[in-house]
């Protein structure tokens, strides 16, 4: 359905990363990480916009985005056609972090969490190699003529690990549990009616979904967290005893075995998996926060696989002949994000000033190690949706200072509600920069930004643990933070981060910057209903221009995910859907396990 200009490749080109943070995954979206260890309501219009929005004057010529080489899909993993799969063995997977829980209906599953969830849950649909959704646990998706009613039929005879049957009722339990969760539910809210008509069981295996606007590809919603179906028996038990969130029960190729938080989580083979043979005896996940450590463990044979966005680590991995690498930079973007609901960034001049003052070139060089591709928008240059006219302004302190002076002259005596100070002191705007830590990389980023922003801003630092950081952002208790987001394979599923409907003035918002633009929303909804990719791209380019002109984000780089496997790990990209369609090998750092075997 959607081709983002596939830049997923498995090769030994030498690039490297730093992870900016992990993001909340909801509504079938790939999880983006908030400004964490990485390595990541008020739809009130911005006040006092006395200056007309300036055109996006570039500070300099836009830098070349292509630093990873030309776009290609070059799968250089050894072909496994002639090799006989071997049963047995344990795959030891190194992750960037651990998570607090593994319940897809209530846990904030970051990239590591989704990786673990992939072992124990199946999704209703999956992405094919061509980036289109294809049924998996579901047998079929049928749309009404107006694309506002979707009928999903489940496959017969599938049971959860605890023996509960997979049926329409089980899916409804999951769906309603996600809708009922304060944060996860917010992601679903724009797409479905609030009442029970959103999903109705027609029979034991058929559910009819009603959506609020035409959707051309409903299946893409259910390829991620929203599409993970957990045992309703377990969901009910976990509601009573939340500690059970650590012991998930799904239909997947592996069953939960044991978990020692921050040490190891183990899943063992599900011998009765409906999808066929599972070769590995077990998969173990080890949270190893330090990128170099993770690499050493892989090179030493203490791990068989790892995921990383750490650029220095990626360089080492790509230098090594002893590992196989899957590289994908079509996923998230790293950026600074501003809260437009409160001063000072409720004023576009302040946002513009921050953008002009931002050291994006230094960021790409020092944090991206000159390797991550510079980003100006949500799409990489290979994407059909890429708007070549857009520029991320930066590295122009003079313009920034002028804008700050204008802002402070007019609004300098107002209050920054977060800091409890006036919005300006000594002619500079007072702001708080928030990020997720503890993280050496994030701290270096903060220092880099502070140095550049200090021309016009007095910056206060606030480092928070990841879940606290997500929460503060969700409730709008920040001025500016470093974040990682977007990158959904099917772009319309990223709408949840942009729509006016996901702003809750009095509570939680998934539109993190709380920036409402009805015109942009209209374009996004229009694009969602279009199946002609070329025509849709033109609409998305227009929407992207509006995002650019709102100055809510200062884009830094396209995040690159690398999944590395030891030489003796086979079948990494051999996964297929239930109908035999070859699946996309990795999605935002997640891989699958059912077809993996160890030689």
């Amino acid at each position: 359905m959607v081709n983002r200009g596939n830049h997923m490749k498995t090769s030994s080109s030498h690039r490297s990363f730093r992870r900016i943070g992990a993001v909340l995954a909801t509504a079938g979206l790939l999880v983006s990480a908030c400004g964490g260890s990485d390595d990541t309501e008020a739809d009130s219009e911005p006040a006092a916009e006395s200056s007309p929005e300036p055109a996006a004057e570039p500070a300099a010529e836009p830098a070349e985005d292509d630093t990873l080489g030309e776009a290609e899909t070059d799968v250089t993993l050894p072909p496994d056609d002639d090799a006989d799969s071997i049963f047995g063995g344990t795959l030891r997977y190194g992750l960037e972090a651990d998570v607090n829980g593994l319940n897809p209906t209530s846990s904030a599953l970051s990239a590591p969490g989704l990786m673990m969830a992939n072992a124990v849950f199946d999704t209703l649909a999956v992405y094919s190699e061509g980036d289109t959704s294809t049924p998996h646990l579901a047998e079929s998706f049928t749309a009404s003529d107006d694309l506002m009613t979707w009928t999903m039929k489940l496959r017969e005879g599938i049971t959860f690990h605890d023996g509960t049957p997979l049926n329409a009722e089980a899916v409804l339990v999951n769906f309603n549990a996600q809708r009922g969760d304060p944060l996860v539910g917010l992601a679903i809210m724009p797409f479905f009616p609030q009442d029970d008509s959103a999903a109705v069981a027609l029979d034991d295996l058929t559910i009819e979904f009603h959506v609020n606007f035409p959707i051309a590809d409903f299946g893409s919603i259910v390829t991620g967290q929203l599409g993970m179906v957990a045992s309703p028996t377990w969901i009910a038990a976990a509601k009573e005893d939340p500690t059970l969130n650590q012991a998930p029960v799904g239909t997947g190729p592996f069953k939960f075995d044991s978990r020692s938080e921050d040490s190891v989580t183990r899943f063992v083979r599900n011998d009765d998996w409906w999808g066929g043979d599972v070769y590995l005896d077990a998969v173990e996940f080890y949270p190893v926060t330090d990128g170099d450590d993770r690499n050493n463990l892989l090179f030493n044979g203490d791990l068989d696989a790892l995921q990383t966005t750490n650029q220095a680590s990626i360089l080492d991995l790509l230098d090594s002949d002893a590992v196989q690498n899957i590289i994908d930079d079509t996923s998230e973007e790293s950026f600074a994000m501003m809260n437009t609901a409160i001063p000072p960034f409720d004023d576009i001049r302040a946002r513009q000033a921050l953008a002009y003052a931002s050291p994006v070139e230094e960021y790409v060089e020092l944090i991206g190690l000159g390797v991550s591709r510079r980003a100006s928008q949500r799409f990489t240059p290979e994407s059909i949706n890429y708007n070549p006219d857009l520029v991320q302004v930066s590295n122009d302190p003079d313009t920034a200072v002028a804008l700050v002076a204008e802002y402070c002259a007019e609004r300098g005596e107002e209050t920054n509600p977060l800091l409890g100070t006036t919005t300006c002191t000594d002619g500079k705007i007072n702001i708080e920069l928030q990020w997720s830590g503890p993280s050496v990389v994030q701290t270096r980023i903060a220092e880099l930004l502070d140095e550049a922003w200090s021309v016009g801003f007095n910056v206060t630092f606030q480092e928070l643990p990841q879940d606290g950081h997500i929460l503060q952002t969700a409730i709008g208790q920040y001025n500016v933070n470093t974040w990682r987001q977007f990158g959904a394979v099917d772009v319309w599923t990223d709408n949840v981060w942009l729509l006016c409907a996901t702003i809750n003035p009095a509570g939680l918002s998934l539109n993190w910057p709380r920036n409402c633009d009805e015109q942009r929303d209209a374009l996004l909804f229009q694009a969602t209903a279009m199946s002609d990719l070329e025509a849709r791209a033109e609409v998305l380019k227009e929407a992207e221009a509006l995002i650019n002109q709102a100055f809510t984000y200062v884009f830094f780089t396209h995040t690159t995910w690398v999944n590395s496997f030891a030489d003796n790990v086979r079948g990494v990209c051999d996964h297929t859907s239930a109908d035999g369609v070859k699946m996309r090998c990795a999605v935002s750092g997640r891989t699958w396990f059912s077809k993996i075997w160890i030689e």
Binding site: P182, N300, L471
Partner: protein, 317 residues
Amino acid sequence: MNYWVQRLTASLMLLLAVSMLTFAAMNLLGDPLFNILGPAAADTKPESLEKVAAAKELYYLDRPLPERYVRWLGDMVTGDFGVQFGSTGQPPVSELVKERFPRSLTLLVMAQLLAAMIAIPWALISAARANKPADRISTVNSFLLIAMPNFALAVILKYVFGIKLGWFPLTFKATDPWLTRVYQTFLPALTIALPAAAVYQRLLRTDLITTLQEDFILMARSKGVGRRRVLFKHALRPSLFSFITVFGINTGTLIGGSLIVENIFRIPGLGSAIVEAILREDFPVVLAIVMIITTAFVLVNVLVDAVYTLIDPRVRR
């Protein structure tokens, strides 16, 4: 007897004072509701507001600070450390402690044993060859180890013994058998032990040199007692006071886990637990670990005093 009663009373007063200060400090950090309820704490739906009210009542968050302190103290002395503040569940703090304390304890015991095993012979050799070339080299080495930051030492040991030589594993796996975990803990323990051994060695060497100049040593030597016997039987015991004092202080400190070493070697112990809890504002966990460390400190120092009386009968009097 009077001495020990006084000692016990003083220790209890110390524990009480630490508990009060820590409790007050934790409650100044902010609103724990977000940590307990997660996003529901900020949600405006009626069911979320009900959860907020219920949480406030359950955890006495709407009560005055002194009342909350007394309730907490009462629970703590009966072994109930409360529950962890976490939006994905509130398991008992005691579970976390039961899981993590043995790892930190293993690390501590191994580190201190290794430190003593290295320090005592090292000090004896240095004292016997005081101011000779061997002693001077030993002095340089000990200061090198004392000055080196433990994270640097950890990285060096990991690289040499873990990666290059492959003698020790680089991972700690909490679900492995006990003996395997002890093996996995050797390098981290050595990281802590080496600088500690250097400190112990310096102290013990100095005390030994002083003791070796005492008259009774001269008497022993003039009676024809061999050099080795003089060192081990006559000089070592009276020289142990400083060593034991510092050994005890260090033991108390290590009870809380060595955060940096635990992080570098990925051992989820008490050290990492308390840092995570502070960042998350998980008050019950912070309070529990602080009280464990303080209690251990007090007990160890009482033990040190008791050991003094064994070493030197004059102290008993």
